[in-house]
Structures are given as structure tokens and as C-alpha cells.
Amino acid sequence: MNEMSEVIAETPETPKAGKKRGKWTRRTFIGAGLLTGGALVVGVAIRSGKPPERLRAMLAGGDGEILVNSFVKIGKDNIVTAVVPHVEMGQGAHTALAQMLADELDADWNNVRILEAPGDGHFASHNIAREFLAPELKVPSVLEPTVDGGFLTLAKMMALQITGGSFSIRGTGQRGMRAAGAAARAMLVAAAAEKWQLPASEISVDRGIVAHAKSGKRAAFGELAEAAAKQALPAQPKLKTPKDFKLMGKPIARLDIPAKVDGTAIFGIDVQIPGQKLSYAAVKAPPVVGAKVAKMDASAAKAMPGVLQILNMGDFVAVVAEGYWQAQQALNQITVEYSKSDADKIDTAAIFAGYGKALDEAGADGGDTLAETGDAAAFFAKAAKKVTAQYHVPFLAHAAMEPMNCTAWVRGGLCDVWAGSQSPLGARNAAAKTLGISADKVNYHNTYLGGGFGRRSETDNIEMAVRIAKATGYPVKLIWSREEDTQQDWYRPSASSRFEAGLDASGKLMSWNNIHTHLFDPQEAPLVSYYNIPNSLIRKVDAPMHLRFGPWRSVDHSQQSWFIESFVDEIAEAAGKDPLALRRELLAKSPRHLAVLNRVAKMAGWGSALPAKHGRGIAIAQSFGSIVAEVAEVDLTAKKPRVTKVYCCADPGFAMNPDGYTAQMESGIIYGLTAALYGEIMVKNGAVQQSNFHDYPMLRMNEAPDIFVEIINGDAQRLGGGGEPGLPPLAPALTNAIRAAGGMRIRHLPVAKHFA
């Protein structure tokens, strides 16, 4: 960490002797400097401008704080350190970001190291901040082609230094890491040119060696680092075009994997504090969210072995003990009564009835219009054929493999916090706010994440842990039981959606009218602009709910894609068309989508014969800048449907690490299949009923289909995400396949309840 503070101290905001800074625009900087020991450091930074009130609280330094996005450090020992402002939760972000930087730098991959930036304002994902906080800001022209605003809506809900919204590669990577690498390269070349008195244009760089072919002069990065720091900053570093990529686009082995096969990777739950004895906390929060602890009887628990403290925190109960198991055992012996409220009467049926009522009230043209072309209602009234349908999806828990946890130590006005968070900056600031101290008094240490999927962008675990640690005064590791993790989630909202489609006499889809209950983002999730439909109207109605909700892998796309692509298949069936043929028709003006669709159809052998009671379903979705189509193959011969194969074709623009991207597709498919088949959080008397993997089941290896993934690099200038886009098409491909296999049309997820 010493090394890290050194780097922070060298940001362009605090120029020191021997440093220069260059402006790209009023608020965009490349900064460079020399570190003690002769290391060159180059950073790309953007000033945050004037943040709106809600985000100001999250920005530790307030207005005008410099948010450094990307850093590279080149030491005398030739080691290139990429400072990565994103957390690693298995998506391969660290490796892919380092690949982008190292490629622009023409570094030797064997000498590249990765350092995760700490949860500090300097490292906030300013790309998010930039467009959100300072919409008028001009992007450096060199990076102009990479700008894509589609992902920003998600960012609005979250703190700044987040890893979510499939953002790291296309945001930080494209705008920050590549620019930092290219700038450092230009400065190393300039240093060599000065030293050798040769024109820079004749100097080349390859695998960490700067060379002049004609004279045979060569120097390693480390030899030039010090001189490079004194060179003028490049005004606009030149980025490579794909034909010159050496590392980008290559399936490079992920650097975080070796530690994940021998038990040495440190997750939040594994944190130890050197020289300190840890105590362990188990907690129980009220089953109905928002309730308070009204009465607590801890007499039996007090006497149990290892118990150190029993805390009634008002909104939860905690037992602190010498070991976690002891804490949990004692907690189980505490009887608690909770405050009552109207929420105690809510159950799943009432929630969906409320959605139905909201949709009824909105009627044929009420609600908030999200998109409109032509006159859908007018055409529908006179349509030769009408198709209508209503769909429902349940609440879902994240169920990350590692239960929520956090370690905290509060003493002397200071606080240290350890956790695996998708939002290290948000975590630090949440700790500070909870304790009523300034953020610079909080030392936040991020670890590997045992799954995030959106859950770890919330900070409730952090807040709980620092409150407990404040009460104890000694360091405490808080671990949630799986039951608590399942019942105190920020759920993927349930939703209902209604559709009306009108076909003309020739069977052509002429009108599309959709209204759905809505709670979240991104706003474009229900839109179907890539489909060529002359009249369309897409609306939402607000439908409040008492459960906490949060981003869940692919956010609203997880619901909307299933609604949309199920309905497209229903239209095909009504029109007597093949589902693939109808989609081809609708995508006639969207060549990238069409290419993806056609490729997946070819992979799956669409149209070829299948045994009886087998079926194929197809679906396509666009999310987080990527286009993904999937075909699921289903076997209905047994009592329960079995998914035997899933074919997936994705166009993310350009896959920086194709094997990593493929793994993300595989992961999204299994996560989506688990949810579509089994996922359902139910509410009774206001409380979540499911508690652990026995009643919130997960797909297992014996049910896992063979997955085939192909990637199309459709547009290297527009990068799409990887973590989320594999999920949305899976559920509709599955339910469409069940229908094709002779099963029912499923309009209410999960699938399993229709085969019980």
C-alpha cells in the first residue's frame, strides 16, 4: 500500500517539482511524474466539475476533486504496474484492463503487474462521473469514437467507483487505460529520441524494448523511465487501430486465477488483521423490512460459550462471540419481537394484484410514455389479427456464493474496513457517514468478491459492521448466514407486462403496444427500436413495493427481454411464421443484430429435425452495448424440462479477451437459466419466505447444458459489456423452446412451478 499512496500523491492535482501536466480540455488531464526510485507514472484524470447534491455526498473531496481514472507506473526494474480502478469479481476486468494498457504501451506482458486502486476519490470511475456530473464536458477528440452513453443510466443509481453495468472495459478501459498506455509509450519514445539524438518517428517499441532499427540502438523501459518523466506530455496520444493490436483481442490467461485454485485468494470473509485477534458477529434483522426490534430476550444466549456481547441495535440484533459459529448458535437462542406495520399483511399475490390494478388504471394510453412511433392504438383497432398477452416475473435474490460480510475496526476517531465491494468508494463513504466522521478517517480495504451480480454495490453490510465495531471497540468480522443473505437482499423487482400487437392481412407486424410496471433501469430495456415496427407505443406505470430492490445481473433487461422475446414468439405463432423468420423480417434494417441472429441460428442448426418432445427456442437482446442471441434446446420427455444445449452468439463490438468474454457468456447463461427455471422469492406476511439453497434452489452440474459461444467483433469503436448481456436472451429462448417442444406457453416465471 505504500507504493499506492505514493502514486496518489503524484496525481496531477498536486503537482510537484519535476512534474508537468497537460490539458486536453478544461477538465481533462493527462498527468505524468517521476516517483522516488526513478519510476515513471502516467495518469489520465478528469475533474468532476459540479456534482449534483446526491452525488456530492459520495465524492469524498467535494467539488473540483480530480478523479484519476487510469494509472500506469513503469519502474527502473522494467515492471509495468497497471493501477486498475475496478474490483475483480470474476469478470476478468483486471486482466482485460491491463491488456488494453499494455497493448497501447507495447509492454512485455510478462512484466505487467496489476494493482487494484483503493476506495479513494482519486480513483472514482470518472467516466461515469464525467457525463453524469458534467454533461457539457467535451471528450478528448482522440477518444471521441468510444463514447457511448447507453450505460450511464445505471450509474445514476450507484456510487462512482462501481464495477457494474458491464462498464469497466468499455468505459475505463477504452477511455482511460488505453490513453494512459499510449501516452506513456509516446513519452518513452521521446526520451529515447532525445538520448540518442534520433527522430522519434524512426523509433519503435516492442515488448518493453524501445529500439531504433537502423542504428541498432535499444533500451528497456526501465532505462528510459526517468528521462521519459521529463518529456512533454503528448497532447493527444495516438491509439492503435485493431490491425495493430497485439494483446487486445487475445485470449490471455487471467492473472487472478492461480490464487483461486490453491485457496490463497483473499475474499472479504477471509480477512485477518495482522497482530489483532478478531471477534465474530452474527446478525438477525427484522423479517419485514423496515420493522424495528420491539422486544428481545437474550437470557439463554448470554450464557452460551464464547459469547462476548449481545447488541440490540434497534433495527437488528447482533451477537459478538469468539467464533462465528458460537455467535450464530447464540443468536438462534434469542427471541425477538418486532414492531408491527401494514407491511405485515403483504404477500406475493397482493403484490401482483397491485401491479394488475396499476396496469388497469393506466388503460390503453395511460402511464408514462417511453417511446412512440406512428399510432399503435389506431392500427390495433383495425388490425386483421390481434395478439395480446400478459407476463409476470418474480422477485429474485442474488445469492452470491460468498454470503455478505464485512470486517471493521473503529478506534480513536479512525476506522478500518475490509470487504469485497463493487463500490469501494461508496463503501468508504458509507462507513464514514454511518460513524459521522470524514471519509479520510476511513481506511477502506477491498478484497476479491465471491460473486457480486449487483448485490455488492449496496453498502448495508458495511454500515452494520461499523456500527457493531463502534459498539465493541475491538475489531469484528461480521458474517451473514445464508438465511440472512437470502432474506435481507436488495431484490430484482418482480414485474408485470402487457402487450397488444396488430398484424395486417398479410401477417405483417404493424403495431406494438406495451405497458409494464416499472421500478428500475436502464430506461432503454423495454425498447425495441432495432425491430422494424411501423407503430409502437411503450409505456410504464410506477408500482411501489415494500421490499428493497437493487441492480441484479443485467438489471431491467432481465425482465424486459423475457417479456419482449416471449411476445415476439407469440406473434410468430399467431401469424403462422417461424420464430427465426419473423425476427429476420423485423431486423431487416439492423444489420449487426441480423448477423448475430443468423450466426446463432446456423450454430444451432435451426430448422433441422429434432426428436419428438424436443424443441428449440430463439431470442435476441441488446444490453449494455452488446448484442446477444441465444438458442436453447429443450427435452420435454421427462417430467421436468431439461435444457440440453445453449448456443450463444455475441457481438460486443470487440472482445478484448475472447476467452474471458466467452466465460462471461457461459456464466450469464447459467445464472439466467437458474433464475428462469427456479428463481422465485415469495412474500408472506410481509417477509421473504425463502432462506437457503434448499428452498431457493440453484442449477447444478447435472442440469447444466452444453454451451457453445461464438463472438462477432462487429465494431471495435463501440465496446459493449460482457458481465450482463449473456443473461437476457436465455429465459425467453428457454420458454420459447418449451413451447416449440409441444409444451405450454409460459407467461409467469419461474418455469419449474408449471411442472410441479
Binding site: Q91, G92, V261, G323, E402, N702, A704, D706
Partner: protein, 160 residues
């Protein structure tokens, strides 16, 4: 209480009802074995007890008295070189978040010790107790075959 852990005799003072998982993690600092559910449903806590895979979250210390436990930290060969499963896990780029993988490798190791050339069906049965929320089942299956020296292509050819 005396038991052998990763080949070393260890003395633990704890309530004999304590699940092995928590003794490993909190008393011996062996953090590679993970907590996922606490009710023998996910396999994240899998260790070997006298060579058999057990869910350490639901196995009390009392059952391990005088026996031998092997954890992910003890699975590499004596000279510290990675076990063939660990090597295959790297070559097939199996882990995503990695949290489930200690348990997966321990289950796979027990399988191969028992059955050096498992069929797909046998792999599925042996691994069905281990959840991977990152969904790396295909890669785990492939890595087990690579470690076992079963070439999946060749197997398929033989079948056709």
C-alpha cells in the same frame, strides 16, 4: 482434541460440536475452505476426511477426532507443485469469482481418487453437491477430464 490436518498432527481446543469448517478457518487460519450455506447444500466447504469428501460446515469436530483431514491447502503434491486438477483448473481458466472453487477441486479430487476415468454421468453425480453461482460447470467438467487424461473429443469419436 488431536487430528491430522494436511499431514500434520494438530491439537485443537474447541467444543466438539463445532463444525470442522470453523475450526479450520478461525483456529488454524486455513481460509481456503469456504462457508456458503452452513447446511450441506452448496459444497463450498468440502474437505477430505480420511479420503472421503465431507461438507465441513455440517460435520462436527468430534467426528474428526484421530482422523486425517485434507483441505485445499494440502492438496498440492509434497514438493509444492500443483495437483493435476489445479493445473487443469488454470489451463481451462475455470474460476470466475473463485469462491466455490476450493470445494469444487476437493470434490473432483475425491472423485478421481475413486474413479480415475469417470464418465460424464459419474462426474455429474459426484459434482452435483457443489454449486457454482458463476456457472462454470462446463469448464469444471472439462478440467476434470483434462486432469484425468480423458480427451473429450476422443471419447465422442469412440461413441459415434
Amino acid at each position: 482434541m488431536k487430528l491430522t490436518i494436511n499431514g500434520k498432527m494438530q491439537e485443537i481446543t474447541a467444543d466438539p460440536a463445532t463444525p470442522i469448517l470453523w475450526a479450520l478457518r478461525e483456529q488454524l487460519g486455513l481460509n481456503g475452505t469456504k462457508f456458503g450455506c452452513g447446511i450441506a447444500q452448496c459444497g463450498a466447504c468440502t474437505v477430505h476426511l480420511d479420503g472421503r469428501p465431507v461438507r465441513s460446515c455440517s460435520t462436527p469436530l468430534s467426528q474428526a477426532e484421530g482422523k486425517s483431514i485434507v483441505t485445499i491447502e494440502g492438496i498440492a503434491s509434497g514438493d509444492g507443485a500443483l495437483n493435476r486438477l489445479q493445473q487443469a483448473w488454470i489451463s481451462e481458466q475455470v474460476p470466475q469469482c473463485g469462491y466455490c472453487q476450493s470445494g469444487q477441486i476437493m470434490s473432483a479430487a475425491a472423485l478421481l481418487a475413486d474413479n480415475p476415468r469417470p464418465s460424464d454421468e459419474q462426474i455429474n453425480i459426484a459434482m452435483a453437491g457443489n454449486i457454482c453461482r458463476c456457472g462454470m460447470y462446463g469448464r469444471i467438467r472439462k478440467a476434470i477430464k483434462v486432469a484425468a487424461g480423458i480427451d473429450s473429443e476422443r471419447q465422442q469419436e469412440a461413441a459415434t
